[in-house]
Symmetry: C2
């Protein structure tokens, strides 16, 4: 692909850091140090702090001259006009929601990085060929409502709107969980615009994100040029036994759903290990949930991941067979096990043009840095372990991603950290990629 010459505009490290931490006043939680930035986040999708940061985001983008719209999934689109405004916008997007014990960078950097790009364009009075914007996707984490990137999924028409609206929260109100639609309505973010790439198409989607893993840090590199995302699936698994008395029911007479489910969770791990994948159980609930009664039902989640679709399928098949065996043969009088698919995200390959402009931009931005890396390259191509909204946008428009280093590879944890310098480098690479893609589309 041809190389594009664009002006050497750069993000402001200080301003980006300030705005990022300003936005984190909403939902700050789990302090781990004395500085106000030394806290994690608990900004669950569509809760009061998410409403507050949304209001703040709209005010901030409107102040930059953007036109802002909200769709029926609460996705917020802020678009800065270009020369030709009949063309669809190039969008820079990520999410402002976090895990219950989340950090200040996951998703947030992508949205705030986009905002910083718009500021640089404004202060340089840079006129893009077509419009350029920033999007805040709703409930990317899949933390409160257990479908990750559900709202970019609706936009991409990969997730039915009603399924998304009816998703029930899993992180609070266990006795009376709220649905996404109820919460969108409550906080005033149930927009009128259809959530669809048809009525709201993008020229491209670029997502800046922390790596969330250890590779860049371990390799002493600064930027990940993301070529794709590993395959993963989320399941809700229900194990049914029989409730009976913990003190009077002999072991041989039990249908102990907790014992059965515990054996399943333990059995998934060596399967993942042998096949080079990952399995994780994050939710495990017992009903009725008293000390001295065997639970009649356990509901647990299983998140399985692998770089390759076919090995992911094999992992799933082996888990299904082993769980069935445990339920029927290794649970005394036997239990029943049912699987429900929550998320199916096949391995993703991003768009070569988008990858290329990111690579050009990374080369350019990194060339100004002290060349500390033995191979002379401060960026690398890589695959994402985590899913992102970009997995869905990629099905409907050219897409790719930019990664920044993540301290100790730790994410989904309050201490998650990316230095202000690295955040700004990432935003500068995002800026350069967008300007190059803007040139490409104009050709």
């Amino acid at each position: 692909m041809s190389q594009f010459e664009v002006p050497a505009l750069r993000a402001s490290q200080a301003r980006l850091a300030e705005t990022l931490h300003e936005s984190c006043q909403f939902g700050a939680a789990h302090p781990y140090g004395s500085d106000t930035t030394e806290t994690g986040m608990a900004r669950l999708s569509l809760d009061d702090s998410d409403k507050a940061v949304r209001d703040w985001f709209i005010k901030s983008t409107e102040a930059l001259g953007c036109k802002v719209s909200v769709d029926e999934m609460g996705n917020i689109f802020a678009v800065r006009p270009g020369k030709n405004n009949n063309a669809p916008p190039i969008m820079m997007g990520s999410h402002l929601d976090t895990q219950p014990t989340g950090g200040r960078y996951d998703g947030i950097l992508g949205v705030l990085g986009g905002l910083e790009v718009l500021k640089v364009l404004n202060e340089n009075s840079y006129e893009t060929e077509g419009p350029v914007g920033v999007v805040d996707w709703t409930n990317e984490e899949g933390a409160r409502f257990p479908k990750m990137a559900v709202s970019s999924g609706v936009w991409a028409e990969q997730v039915p709107l009603e399924d998304a609206w009816n998703l029930k929260e899993v992180t609070a109100n266990h006795d009376n969980p709220k649905t996404m639609k109820e919460e969108l309505t409550r906080i005033g973010y149930l927009g009128k615009n259809p959530a669809s790439y048809r009525s709201n198409p993008f020229a491209a989607h670029f997502e800046l994100h922390i790596e969330q893993g250890p590779i860049l840090e371990d390799q002493g590199q600064k930027i990940g040029v993301v070529e794709g995302v590993q395959a993963f699936k989320w399941f809700e698994i229900t194990v049914k036994g029989r409730d009976s008395h913990a003190g009077t029911t002999p072991l041989y007479a039990r249908k102990d759903s907790v014992l059965s489910a515990a054996r399943m969770v333990a059995a998934a791990n060596p399967i993942a290990k042998r096949l080079g994948g990952l399995t994780t159980t994050g939710i495990f609930e017992t009903k009725p949930g008293t000390v001295n009664t065997m639970a009649h039902t356990v509901v647990f989640t299983l998140d399985i991941r692998h770089m390759k679709n076919d090995v992911l399928s094999q992992m799933e098949e082996e888990c299904r067979a082993e769980f069935q065996r445990i339920a029927h043969e290794d649970s005394e009088k036997g239990c029943e096990v049912e699987w429900k698919l929550l998320v199916d995200s096949p391995a993703v390959e991003f768009n070569p043009d988008c990858i290329s402009v990111v690579e050009q931009s990374a080369t350019d931005v990194c060339s100004a840095l002290p060349q500390t890396h033995p191979d002379g390259k401060l960026w690398r191509r890589m695959i994402s372990g985590a899913g992102h909204d970009s997995c869905y946008t990629n099905t409907r428009c050219p897409t790719s991603m930019i990664f920044t280093p993540t301290k100790d590879g730790i994410s989904h944890n309050p201490v998650e950290y990316c230095s202000a310098e690295d955040c700004a480098l990432g935003a500068s690479v995002l800026l350069g990629a967008v300007l190059r893609y803007d040139k490409l589309r104009a050709k």
Copy 2:
């Protein structure tokens, strides 16, 4: 011990059945058939239905001429006067609370059987030597507030009042659990009388209860003369790991508290099997509880039981060692495990005089039945697998128990069942035991 001659008074099968099911209108739940009696119960201690059945119980006993008092744990004492009212009463007691998916007999039969005994005494104008009463103990199940028989425990001065009052519910309001004291206050059952055997002594305590296990049914027998209760302990076990991302954290870098805890639950079972005891996990909670974040913390309960105190200790020691090993050596980067004791109930041996009068009464009542058992005995001595309020009263006054058959040995389940005939037989044995003990104390 000498044999006591008492009049052959008998419980009314029809009246007991009617009153028992009348009392079950409060908190009926989980229907399994079309008849109004074909439902289980969900009468959690100190909830609205528990308040309703308490009000009903007080009205019923006052109508029989009882003096009713309530202590600071909400225990209700209804006492029918005798000839000499300076003597402490012989109490018949059990509990009206149930499991969330509980049945219509566990505990309920003991209180309603006591009520039936008072009715028989009244209609026969039978004057006992000293007072005789019925007690409804609060939160015997330990279902809502996780300490079984906590209120007879306070009465026996084996559980400190403040510990009991501060117990937090585990079955609802997970975000803001209520304490026992708050709920006692809310439903108006925080009595003024001290909950203590010192100011409120008993001459004896007799408890009629369903067996909750399969032995009587399997043996074709009608009455269990309960000699004691197996030893058990309840623990709350906390496993601490580190929250991190399910898709980007390699297996070797994990401190996965769910995997660690699942391995512990699975490991307890073969220990119990080998040593001839029981282990049960009924509650297993993950925090923060999202699909794609490893939980930083799991809290699970472990209920361990054995007939012998020393083998129970060995089971505990083996579980402690194995859990420690799993946390440190079999959980990748390692987790921490902490144990908290919730209930410690050593093996109980009931009072020989009480056992003897129950046996005399059982012999008498069973002698009128068709002799269907090959050995010619329709009752048997036995040990209880479940704990009861009688474990605590036994530390402060002569105590024993009477068991009735339980269909398929199933308890703590909506289909729990004891036929009307067997309920009445049990109540008649209770009546005969109380009258004999009344003679004994007068000697």
